[in-house]
């Protein structure tokens, strides 16, 4: 079973990355989140710079196997970060861009971002969740802006509540 999982790992990762790119073209239209928009290139550049600096600072040359592991980790991070907002976009389409979809999107966005911030030792899940959660939050707030005053109040209240909870948990040692 272990051998089988090891064998299908790389083909699965390649499939996930390919699926994410295909569905990105499917969901995106014109605007800031469009398929070739500057948003994605800037995000990719930032991620590459951060990962490049991290590798440089570690000072340790990587073996070919370690480079392969790093590449696989990066592919999984990119897949999770892209598929999460794509899933929320499909939720919006299923619920006709209504308030239920927005609330679900907010819960998912803040939920995965907070999960990413608090778990330790699983870099792929951490970075994938934080980046994916941030994109979801940006997208949902962009959609909520057009839904009227009540939706904006809900969005602001949700964001405030999530920020307070996360801050209290992260900073509880410094509060006393």
């Amino acid at each position: 079973m272990e051998l089988l999982l090891a064998i299908i790992l790389w083909p699965f990762v390649v499939f996930a990355v390919g699926l994410a790119l295909i569905l990105l073209f499917d969901v995106s239209g014109p605007g800031i989140f469009g398929a070739f928009s500057a948003f994605w290139w800037v995000l990719l550049l930032v991620v590459l710079v951060v990962m490049g600096r991290k590798n440089k600072l570690s000072g340790k040359p990587q073996t070919a196997y370690e480079q392969l592991e790093t590449t696989r980790q990066f592919a999984i991070i990119a897949s999770i970060a892209l598929l999460l907002p794509i899933f929320v976009r499909y939720l919006f389409k299923v619920f006709d861009s209504g308030l239920p979809a927005a609330i679900l999107g907010l819960m998912l966005g803040f939920g995965v971002a907070a999960w990413g911030m608090f778990i330790k030792g699983h870099k792929a899940v951490t970075y994938g969740n934080i980046i994916g959660g941030a994109i979801i939050i940006l997208y949902v707030y962009a959609q909520l802006w057009n839904m009227g005053d009540v939706a904006r109040i809900i969005a602001a209240a949700f964001g405030l509540g999530a920020a307070v909870v996360v801050s209290v948990i992260k900073l509880k040692d410094k509060l006393s």
Binding site: I8, A16, F25
Partner: protein, 124 residues
């Protein structure tokens, strides 16, 4: 790892990948021309067959990976060409399923930072 041995395995895996893809494509074109099965359905059936064969021969890495990557390409090609015709709810379910699988892989199979010094397997 013997470099020459690894190169031979990569070459054979690549040959299997290319020929299996070509077989699926030609069979799908022939099937559509003769009115037996739709082009895309034939491709998906071949992809499923290659995935099954790849899993069954998992002991021989190069053959297995050749078939599995070929199945990857066929599935992605069929999905990419027909993504607009699939209903949104099914796309959402597919994305949810792949996300759960990705989390499983990332949680259990990706080595943690403390163990990145582990040696690569010898039997690839």
């Amino acid at each position: 790892m013997n470099t020459k041995n690894a190169a031979v395995k990569i070459v054979f895996g690549s040959i299997i990948f290319l020929f299996s893809g070509a077989l699926a494509y030609f069979a799908a074109s022939y099937s559509e021309k003769n009115g037996w099965l739709d082009y895309w359905i034939t491709l998906v059936l071949f992809a499923a067959l290659f995935m099954t064969v790849g899993i069954l021969v998992s002991r021989i890495f190069s053959i297995s990976l050749g078939f599995l990557f070929s199945a990857d390409v066929l599935f992605l090609y069929a999905l990419g060409a027909n993504v607009e015709t699939v209903q949104v709810i099914y796309k959402a379910i597919l994305v949810a399923f792949i996300l759960v699988a990705l989390y499983f892989v990332a949680w259990y199979k990706i080595p943690e930072e403390s163990s990145t010094g582990s040696a690569p397997p010898d039997n690839i």
